[in-house]
Symmetry: C2
Subunit: 439 residues, 2 copies
Amino acid sequence: MAAAARPARSETTGIGLLGLGVVGSAVARAIVGRHGSGDPNVPLTVRAVVVQDPQRKRAVDLDRSIISTDADSVIANPEVGIVVELMGGEDPAFDYISRSLNGGKHVVTANKEVLCKRGGELLAIAAENDVQLLYEASVGGGIPIIGPLMNDLTANRIQSIRAIINGTTNFILTKMAHEGADFNDVLAEAQSLGYAETDPTADVDGFDSLYKISVLARLAFHTEVSIDAIHREGIRGVHAKDFRYASELGFTIKLLAVAQANEKSGLLTRVHPALIPLSVPMASVNGVLNAVEVEGDLVGRLWFQGPGAGPEPTASAVLGDILRIVRGGPGASTRADVPAPFDIASMDDHVCQYYLRLTVADRPGVLASIAKVLGDADISIGSVLQKDIDPENESADLVIMTHPAREANMQNAVSSLKRLDAVMRLDSLLRVETYPSRS
Amino acid sequence: MAAAARPARSETTGIGLLGLGVVGSAVARAIVGRHGSGDPNVPLTVRAVVVQDPQRKRAVDLDRSIISTDADSVIANPEVGIVVELMGGEDPAFDYISRSLNGGKHVVTANKEVLCKRGGELLAIAAENDVQLLYEASVGGGIPIIGPLMNDLTANRIQSIRAIINGTTNFILTKMAHEGADFNDVLAEAQSLGYAETDPTADVDGFDSLYKISVLARLAFHTEVSIDAIHREGIRGVHAKDFRYASELGFTIKLLAVAQANEKSGLLTRVHPALIPLSVPMASVNGVLNAVEVEGDLVGRLWFQGPGAGPEPTASAVLGDILRIVRGGPGASTRADVPAPFDIASMDDHVCQYYLRLTVADRPGVLASIAKVLGDADISIGSVLQKDIDPENESADLVIMTHPAREANMQNAVSSLKRLDAVMRLDSLLRVETYPSRS
């Protein structure tokens, strides 16, 4: 730290990076780029970087001597004022972040998993140590959504957040919708393009969306939602046929992450594929784009959209948080005006229309027996389509749209439907997302 | 100020309101509502209100004794810590805001006109006095756009801002597009619905959009753009026919406010009706909605959309700024990392495709003479439609889409075209908004 290198107006802030993958490299490049080109008043310097393999070639030009495998070279480094955690996962990230905070360092992270699972603890540790834990990059890549919820929308009681916050699944579902392709074929294509991991579980089974919506819910509703309390379904069960039928009915299918609260029923958080009316903006969020719709009591319905992933957009969010700390903004931990948390609502009480696709025996009386089961469960049928009659197997597709019904009733009905002789298979049960009109 | 009324954890912040119209009343209601219902840690109290007519009935229940016509009851009131200016216009707002700032009070304003015309001076006064001047409500109603530019996106060099930020004109253009209606009829309807003023000049001639884009440009590009340097055209010249032809060509028409910068040509700020490809999201922003698209070098293209006006959305932004000050956030004036301003680019150098609608004599050789004029001005024709032949007047509509051309060349060509015998009238000259694809 040559004193002569310091600009006149303020001290250099030392950055320590935990992780130097594509995002870490983009953050490092942006820091090096800014420092060298016109922002002498907010000098940042990368002081130490922790990686798993110090020999690997990196997409940024950094002094080799600051790169090591020893986490303490960042966490315990007195020259590091801000620790940037880009490793992902719960362990050892929790340990590294908490030790950094306890050591009086600010932390910026893009790690939705550790924030979901241990974020409450980490924010408390940050508050105890009077340092900041910022995490704009953890949800929606470069889209400012944490910042607006933390700073700009604080006058509102947030009523709902609806989001498409997983680019991989949105890419897959968009391809399926536009090309009539099957899930497995599109997944393979996404994997070959680098949009999906070799093990796609975190994305396609909805875990990534779950982590992110829980991070948004904690912030917007001041409520800790345990993972077990979040309804989660992935997209493996969505078939090409469902897109065809949904489209005939005026819908497309998206993996939605939703958190909705009201004073009476509490906070419901859910991740599942949903039928979206083609007329609402969410239906047009295609490919790897992310979108977050926030509804507040004063502001009404707001819409934030942008690239939800990628090294540069994520670096935009990470570096934005770093600059926020350097400029001395207030952290989440400095909020004094936190209202009481909501109760946790049960998915059983969720009410929506349902889309049911069944393979049934193609013979008289079948619809009557199915309608009876639904009626007994207090579920009214809105419309029925019979499709794709298969003479060989004497079967047909039956697509039923219900009127709004309680989830618990539908689950009961599903159990009974599966026991009906005439029902050869329950292929799909999808929820229709309800957009209440604002008066 | 009874000390006993103060909550334990922090002092009450006194709010002074300049103006108590629909927005001021909504702000006052929100303050009273919060104070009474669950946010005891950020206590706010309305201490004084300045109005023109103290006898008028207001949509909020306030102690009459704090309402007066004397501006000093707010500006010079030692119990007022934050002045909220909701009067609009340059005078006397500039005087009131600057005196408040000089008196050590923070100011929150929704006044785009005074910010456009005198914002640079006011921000300097705020900085001198170490107080904040915040203005989220001045652009886009409740949409967080000032906050993201000021705080969340600071890691980016902003490249462009494209916005629909005037609800009145967007309501009118949407009606014209969907109903084939004429401007004057729709304006009358908008006036009867309260969406347009009796004197609609500020909206339909583009002044309101101009004020707002200049406020965004100052913040995003660190550059003062004088009103004279902003190209401004309103929507009075857009005809029902233009929507019909634009639609055939794959476009709709919106009043856009744009600020675009690059290192070479500088910053160009412009407000004008533009042809928007039906395939881009801006084409689907309908009615009184507002939308702002921000492009940054790291983050790529972001999209913010929501209700751009109305008392509650505006109150959301005003109260958000008040709470930001109470929580001790950094103001615009505390930014140290402000890069050098851009040069101001000339509209003459703007390059885009043009849509030309001419009423021409319906006889051979007309197109040849028009094509020659355009060719002489270095403008290539992309497509030509001949429409609505009128045998009685021996005239026809000629709709020309050009290839990208320089504005100065087009203005020269227009002068020459008007002198052609065959050209009976130049009805419309509209720019096509160019959306460069991001690789």
